[in-house]
Symmetry: C2
Subunit: 372 residues, 2 copies
């Protein structure tokens, strides 16, 4: 059971607090991705120093290595990776479909081959919930199937309906505990009637929170926002809503405006490893030769070490020389940027000026301009 306090609303945007056994999460929140029991290139205390209050772990990766049973024997994921704050785990379904060689999906679950060693595994809703329990995840996700975009409506419908049956089985398999919860996942692609059907199925079952899945798979920001517009109003107001795998800063601002409370994305970490920085003046590629002699900071308004202690020239040098410190510093910066953005969003909600903030944000990020 997870307690969620909805503290304030501004149109559809929400400011809340989610209470877990490992601490509170102020929403809207962004969860850095810690796929293999580490946010790549960062010490957990540095992740926390950015303001991050919850991270995401990947069931698919962890079930293969070091295995859920081993993590449980070693005291759970929080202790294993020295992250005492809340953890959300996905169900493994998305990575089974994107990373592994799938052998078969049936009503029972999916059979796949590990991308690591080719070993054969079977993942059912019940096993996914068991794994997440063994990991000691604060927020467990139901096993679902995520359809590619574009897909035929009849295929999306069939898949969504099976995912709803899996959601029921996931809920049934979940052991409820104080400060732990399970989220359902709305599917249905970009089809409003299927999304509606999915919302109804999930709310009938009843979850601690509701995720919107199957977006950010190539449909584009406009269609994503339109899908949210017809989805979030159908979800219970007193439960947190999580948009999975999203996204760019403008995606986040626009989705908060549409009533989303939680986000995760590999973008800040993966971009950081690839010399791409998010800044208040837009994205910056530090490999570009224009930074070679630039003594100015990456982002003069940012408090992270990359911005306060080094020049763009030095960061450029690190990436040109293939030095690990480049990835370390830029990952840190990008997470700081995302967490600062969430903090600004929360503050503007508290001060009832989120709409102004969001409009100014889209105005400034001209290339990303989209109707709110």
């Amino acid at each position: 059971m997870l307690q969620f306090e909805l503290k304030k609303k501004e149109n559809n945007a929400r400011r809340g607090t989610l209470h877990t056994a490992h601490g509170d999460i102020q929403t809207p929140t962004f969860m850095p991705v810690g796929t293999c029991a580490t946010v790549k290139g960062m010490l957990p205390e540095n992740v926390a120093s950015t303001g991050a209050e919850i991270i995401l772990g990947n069931t698919y990766h962890l079930m293969l290595r070091p295995t859920a049973e081993r993590v449980a024997r070693l005291g759970g994921l929080h202790k294993f990776m020295n992250w005492p704050k809340p953890i959300l785990t996905d169900s493994g379904g998305f990575q089974v479909m994107s990373l592994s060689k799938i052998r078969k999906i049936t009503e029972d679950g999916c059979t796949f081959q590990s991308h690591l060693d080719g070993s054969k595994h079977h993942l059912t809703p019940e096993r996914s919930i068991e794994i997440q329990h063994l990991l000691d995840s604060n927020i467990t996700m139901v096993l679902d199937e995520c359809m590619p975009y574009p897909s035929e409506k009849k295929d999306v419908k069939k898949s969504m309906e099976r995912s709803m049956r899996w959601a029921q089985r996931s809920k049934d398999a979940f052991t409820d505990r104080d400060g732990y919860g399970i989220f359902g996942i709305v599917q249905g692609g970009v089809f409003p009637d299927l999304r509606k059907q999915s919302c109804e199925a999930l709310t009938d079952i009843g979850f601690d929170g509701y995720a919107v899945g199957g977006l950010a798979v190539g449909e584009g920001q406009k269609l994503m926002f339109e899908t949210l517009d017809v989805t979030t109003p159908l979800l219970p107001e007193n439960k947190p809503r999580y948009l999975m795998g999203v996204g760019r800063p403008s995606d986040i601002v626009g989705s908060v405006a549409r009533g989303i409370d939680m986000f995760d994305c590999v973008m800040p970490t993966r971009s950081g490893r690839n010399a791409l920085a998010f800044t208040r003046e837009g994205t910056v590629n530090l490999r570009n030769a224009c930074h070679m002699d630039d003594l100015s900071p990456l982002d003069s308004q940012c408090s992270c070490p990359a911005c306060t202690k080094y020049s763009r020239a030095y960061l450029h040098h690190l990436f040109k020389a293939g030095e690990m410190l480049g990835a370390i510093l830029l990952t840190w910066h990008n997470i700081q940027y995302y967490e600062d953005l969430m903090k600004e969003i929360r503050l503007s909600l508290e001060e009832s000026r989120f709409e102004d903030f969001a409009n100014a944000f889209f105005e400034k990020n001209a290339g990303l301009k989209r109707p709110l």
Copy 2:
């Protein structure tokens, strides 16, 4: 001009303080290697937190990228890499010979091709000193030639004699400033008479410190110690002595016993990136499956984050999963181990019990047992 205070002696072992424009260095000292303007995988403040008071930068790498002139324009190496403490730079000679395609060595200097892009460069004693000046190095090394082991005595002699002429040219090219100095480098392979000749040539010129070069190139610990035994007594007592590129912990303890004050080596950093840890109980390879379920710390007496916040099982997992954090944590640990060792050496010297410490150290590290 560098001031060196020799504070205490125990037989040939020495406890001192070297004063530089960027702070004091307590000797015996170990210098972590920061080849390309970064100690690989570490933030400089974390390097400092281990007790390191000086790092080494590589002239060869920095002259090629980002170039010495660029570092100078950007405010010098300390500012560029955010390391406000002392820096020693090598002359570039060793890497020219080990990494680049040498085109020609003449009396004037050496012509070589960059290992990065094949571009042609000419390095003379004068240019090496100029580069180190541009980098703002506190301790400049003379350009020398380092002979492979084994080499014919006549070749070692010829090379050493040229290195001594280069040492004079290096000294002549050096701009003396308060808190900055230049070290000569003793060459002569494993031949006592050549080492003697080299020591005499260098002390005739007069340097702020004296390095012993051309060791740890395959001759083995016994021959290295024997060479030190006939070299350090010939060096001025009131100047620091630096054993270049050394070494294993036992090499360091044995060399301190032979009157060496300063060390550098890639071993802690390179080993760290390769899952090999130095601990008070010997070396540990964290890739080994025996660590898979081991909840114990890497080294229970170590204060670094790898040892205080994580289990061997987690460190093993990071290396198996190819996660950057494994290299980050183990590099940190290994530097902490080396700096702790130096601290123990200094303390035992202050308390006039270094010989006991050294004997106990060799006793404990059984596989490394060598006559002191």
